[in-house]
Structure formats: structure tokens, C-alpha cells
């Protein structure tokens, strides 16, 4: 699953010199929390609803004037992701940096935005990467015993399965995301293919029927 599948395309952006009160109104109108900030078409930061609230709060020692330009309060330097990145990678970045969104950049151009809400939507269909492992995506017939047959094959090879996530695929089949505790993924992919399953990822060792 890639960022391009979960991101919001053509995000609402603001110019660096827009005023805080204007940015606030824009967020209210569009019901969004994050605004990528551009300067001469180039992404230079992100301003969030939290940035605005903190900057202008009366509780703050030196509150910013609502007429201040967003450039003064935006978060920067900005971390980005690209449309071809898998969602789990973007999640790790956001987690590590404790941020709520990543602008999506392709060939230096802003093409989308992904927020933690988008990633929560994706969560059900994703797998973690916490243990050293190789990942295989496998397609199974949605039939009793097929998953057992697959895991039986792996067990015979003494392969520990670190995680399996499944989601429904087309034509009444089931898609599995397997994380296996082995470096010998090509060999295992071949084995699984030979047993009649479809290996979909990694693409260059796939066998799709």
C-alpha cells in the first residue's frame, strides 16, 4: 500500500505571507488542520491549527498578532514523503518526529498530503516492521484450509511468521501481508508459488495468475 493510495490529492495550500487569521478561517472553512506553506511555489513549511492556537493564545507570554504572516509561526524544516512510499514508512516518520501530517512531494512538486487520519484508515490493511523480517504479499482463495496450507508450508521450512494481516481482495480472494523471519525470501516465494498460491510482492519475484 502506497502513499498515493491514501493521500489527499491537490491539498489546500497557503502562501508564506498569508495572515494568521486568514489561515485560521481557511482551516475552519475547509475543515482541515494542516496547511502546507509555499514560497515562490516551493514548499517551505507546514502550519497547523495547533501552531495557530499556540501562537495567538492569550495564555502565551508574547502572543502573536492575528495579522502576523504564517511564515513566522509555521513548522519548518518540513519533512515530506513521496507518492510511491509505502504508508508504513510515512507512519514511522510521523511517529518519530511527533507530527500529524506529511506533505507528499514528487519531483520537487507538492502533489498531496497525508495525515494521521489517513494512516488510521490504512492501519487495518497494514503490517508492522518491528522485527527483522522479509515481507511477502500472498493471494489466497477465500476457502477453508487455504491459510492453514500456506502456514503449514512455512512451518515445514522452520520459518517463523512474525505477522499476518489479511484483507479481502478481488474475485472472492483474500490478500495476506506476511512478515516472515527469514532472509531467504526468494526461495520461500518460489515454494509458495509452486504450491499454487499467488505471490504479489516483491513484484520481481511475483507469480500472479
Amino acid at each position: 500500500m502506497l502513499i498515493s493510495e491514501v493521500m489527499k490529492k491537490n491539498p489546500v495550500t497557503v502562501n508564506f505571507d498569508i495572515k494568521l487569521n486568514e489561515a485560521y478561517k481557511l482551516m475552519q472553512d475547509k475543515k482541515i488542520r494542516h496547511l502546507p506553506v509555499l514560497k515562490e511555489e516551493k514548499l517551505i513549511g507546514v502550519v497547523t491549527d495547533r501552531d495557530l492556537r499556540l501562537a495567538t493564545s492569550k495564555l502565551s507570554e508574547h502572543p502573536f498578532d492575528p495579522e502576523t504572516e504564517v511564515e513566522k509561526v509555521m513548522s519548518h524544516p518540513v519533512s515530506t514523503t513521496s507518492p510511491n512510499d509505502p504508508v508504513e514508512r510515512a507512519t514511522q516518520v510521523m511517529r518519530e518526529l511527533k507530527i500529524g501530517c506529511l506533505p507528499v512531494v514528487e519531483e520537487m512538486k507538492l502533489v498531496g498530503i497525508v495525515t494521521n487520519t489517513d494512516l488510521l484508515d490504512a492501519l487495518l490493511m497494514l503490517t508492522g516492521v518491528h522485527q527483522p523480517s522479509g515481507r511477502l504479499d500472498v493471494r489466497l482463495p477465500n476457502k477453508t484450509g487455504e491459510l492453514a496450507r500456506l502456514t503449514g508450508l512455512l512451518s515445514e521450512q522452520k520459518v517463523n511468521i512474525h505477522s499476518i494481516l489479511t484483507y479481502p481482495d478481488k474475485d472472492g480472494k483474500v490478500r495476506l501481508v506476511l512478515r516472515l523471519g527469514s532472509i531467504e525470501m526468494k526461495m520461500l516465494a518460489e515454494l509458495i508459488c509452486n504450491a499454487g498460491f499467488e505471490v504479489i510482492w516483491p513484484v520481481h519475484i511475483a507469480c500472479v495468475k
Binding site: S133, G134, K158, V159, N160, S182, I183, K186, H204
Partner: protein, 377 residues
């Protein structure tokens, strides 16, 4: 001035006949050098003791491995990654791994005592071993042990890993360490074990910006690989100014490797090794240790490591392989060996996505540079 390190007991680390991590690879190197009339006179290391490994590994982990290696049964083995397809339990494996760790450690000591500037350890390179987890053919992390030996004496060390898999074990052990920079060039974890080594893994705390990862696209070729080296490794060395380098020279980025998908040729490896030796001369006062590592193409790996030996010893690289060696080993391994030390071109079919791959890798240079620039001041 270069020292070679080797011990015949390295072979005790034998994970079984059909296991890819095969001691025969080093035997082929030694025999080839012999047939080329180069006398290899290695320093022989003592094995490290189990206690010495407590510096890197949990005591419990080491003790269980030692027991398993003696043939005892331990129920915890699978929790520790042992008894699996990658890390089967074999008799003597712990002793073999301790000899190999002793070799890498000896390399570090030789550098520290100024007995040599360059070391080639004909073994070791167990970069997937974690403090309490065996993984990816590795149990004891010899690299971490040698690095620790040097940093304990106050040295700043750059660990460079050109094995095709991410060096997750070494990275994790030094993730917060400000004396150790780790640089790993590998096939992207999207496609390859261990699934880590992303560009945003930059280290934590004092170690921030000192852990660099270059997840290359599958089918990356030599030219692009060398471009990435110049774009990332050289600026890193220039900035960090290490006192010594340790290089894990896995040979599994070769195009014929059965486990991975990069497309380096032996000619590329020659360029890569020369480049690394030049980096050592320019940025670490010439001090460098090479270890072996992955490399599962049994016909290519010995040739690549022989080239490494010849370069580091400043010896001539022959064009042809000795017929006697070819005859002997093609029979033993049951595979055809061509008559030349280097690969013959064209080595593989042209890659249709070549320019896209190059673009992706070039993008990595930019993104990595962007993310460290705020720290490297």
C-alpha cells in the same frame, strides 16, 4: 602494511550442507590465492570468551547459545531466533562464531596498537545479530564487539556496510552512540530482508544524524551505486573525521546473487574497494578493517573477495583463473566456473527501468543530505 586474519576453526560456524552461509567460500579464496602463488600468512586469533560477548549481548542469550551449541536442549531457543530456517542449531556453531568474533576483535586491537593500518579479516561480518536475537545467519555480532573495543579507547569509528542487506544489528547497538557513525548501503527493505534501513533512521539522542541508510532500488547497477557512494559516504567521512573505519564487505550485491537483486559486477566491486581504500587514506588516516559477510553466489563471492585481497595487498589482478583451481572447485561445488577472475560482459540483460532507478537513487542522495544538513554544522 596490511595484516590478514584467519583461523581454520572459523569453519566450525557451519550451518549445514545446503545452507547459503557456506565456509567453502573462504576456502575457495585461500586456495585461489595459493594457486596464484601468493603466500597468505594470516594472524590467527584466539576465540573470544562467552564473557567477552556480554559487552554486546545479553548474558542469557550468550549462555543459551553456548548450551545449544554443545547439544543441550533449550526451550527458549526459538524466542531468540534459533532453530529457524536462517539460524539452525548446529554443533560447534558458538565456538566457530567466537573464533570469528575473535578475528574481528584482533583486527581492532592491531589498529589500536598501531601494528598495522589495514586489516583484512577473512571471516566475520555478522551484522544481523542483535543483543538478544539471532537473525539472518548471524548469532554473535563480531562487528559491534570490534567497534566497541575501539570506541572504549576513545576512537571515533565509521562502520560502512556494503552487504546487500541492511545492517540492522550493528545500527541498533550503536543507535544512540556519538562515537560511531554507521552507513549502510542496501537493497530497499520494501523488497528485502530485514525490512529496515530507511532514510529516516538517523539515530537517536547523541547519535542523531550519525546513522545513515541508503535503501537502493532493486536492479541498481554499478554506476549508480558509485554515484551514491560519492554523494553520501564521502561527505559523511569528511564531516565526521573518523579515527578508523570498519567495512563489512558482503558480496551479495553481485548480479548473480540468489538472495538479492542488485546488479554489481566484479569490475564494480574493484572500483568500490578502491574507492573505500581511498576514503580511508583521505579521511581515517589510512586505518581500515575489512571483514567478509554475505555473498551467496558461490562462483562470484570467492572472486570478489580475492579481488579485495589483491587490492588491499597491492598485488596485481590476474586476468585468468588457474585451470587447476577451476577444475578442482567446479567439481566440488558442482557448478561451472568461467576461466576469468572478472565477470565477462555483458553480464546481464539491459534493465529497462535503468534511468528510473538512477533517478530514484539520486533522489536518495538529496533526501539524505537534506535530513542531515541541520545537524552537520
Amino acid at each position: 602494511m596490511c595484516k590478514i586474519i584467519y583461523h581454520p576453526k572459523y569453519n566450525l560456524y557451519d550451518l549445514g550442507e545446503s545452507h547459503p552461509f557456506n565456509p567453502v567460500r573462504v576456502e575457495m579464496v585461500l586456495d585461489l590465492l595459493h594457486e596464484l602463488n601468493y603466500a597468505v600468512e594470516p594472524e590467527t586469533p584466539d576465540p573470544v570468551t562467552p564473557e567477552m560477548l556480554y559487552k554486546i549481548h545479553d548474558k542469557n542469550y550468550v549462555d543459551i547459545i553456548e548450551a545449544l551449541s554443545r547439544g543441550e536442549n533449550k526451550t527458549e531457543s526459538e524466542q531468540l531466533g534459533l532453530g529457524t530456517i536462517d539460524n539452525p542449531i548446529t554443533k560447534g556453531m558458538a565456538e566457530g562464531a567466537r573464533y570469528q568474533a575473535g578475528g574481528t576483535l584482533l583486527g581492532a586491537k592491531l589498529l589500536l596498537e598501531n601494528k598495522t593500518k589495514k586489516v583484512l579479516q577473512l571471516g566475520g561480518g555478522f551484522h544481523h545479530a542483535h543483543s538478544n536475537l539471532a537473525s539472518g545467519f548471524c548469532i554473535y555480532n563480531d562487528l559491534a564487539l570490534a567497534i566497541k573495543e575501539m570506541t572504549d579507547k576513545g576512537l571515533h569509528v565509521v562502520y560502512l556496510d556494503i552487504d546487500v542487506h541492511h545492517s540492522d544489528g550493528v545500527q541498533k547497538i550503536f543507535y544512540n552512540d556519538d562515537k560511531v557513525m554507521t552507513i549502510s548501503l542496501h537493497e530497499s527493505g520494501e523488497f528485502l530482508f530485514p525490512g529496515t534501513g530507511w532514510i529516516h533512521e538517523l539515530g537517536q539522542g547523541m547519535g542523531r544524524s550519525l546513522k545513515l541508510n541508503v535503501p537502493l532500488d532493486p536492479f541498481t547497477e554499478g554506476e549508480s551505486y558509485l554515484e551514491v557512494m560519492d554523494g553520501i559516504i564521502e561527505p559523511a567521512l569528511k564531516w565526521f573525521k573518523p579515527d578508523a573505519m570498519i567495512v563489512m564487505a558482503g558480496a551479495d550485491a553481485h548480479f548473480s546473487d540468489p538472495l538479492a537483486d542488485l546488479l554489481l559486477t566484479t569490475m564494480d566491486y574493484e572500483k568500490i574497494f578502491k574507492k573505500i581504500l581511498k576514503y580511508a587514506d583521505d579521511y581515517s588516516n589510512g586505518k581500515i578493517i575489512f571483514t567478509l559477510g554475505g555473498g551467496y553466489s558461490i562462483t562470484a563471492t570467492p572472486r570478489i573477495w580475492t579481488i579485495l585481497y589483491l587490492l588491499i595487498m597491492n598485488l596485481e589482478i590476474p586476468y585468468k583463473l588457474p585451470p587447476k583451481w577451476i577444475k578442482k572447485w567446479s567439481k566440488k561445488i558442482g557448478k561451472e566456473i568461467l576461466g576469468f577472475l572478472h565477470d565477462q560482459l555483458p553480464a546481464y540483460e539491459p534493465i529497462p527501468r535503468k534511468s528510473e532507478i538512477e533517478k530514484h537513487n539520486r533522489d536518495l542522495i538529496r533526501r539524505i543530505s537534506d535530513s542531515v544538513v541541520q545537524y552537520w554544522i
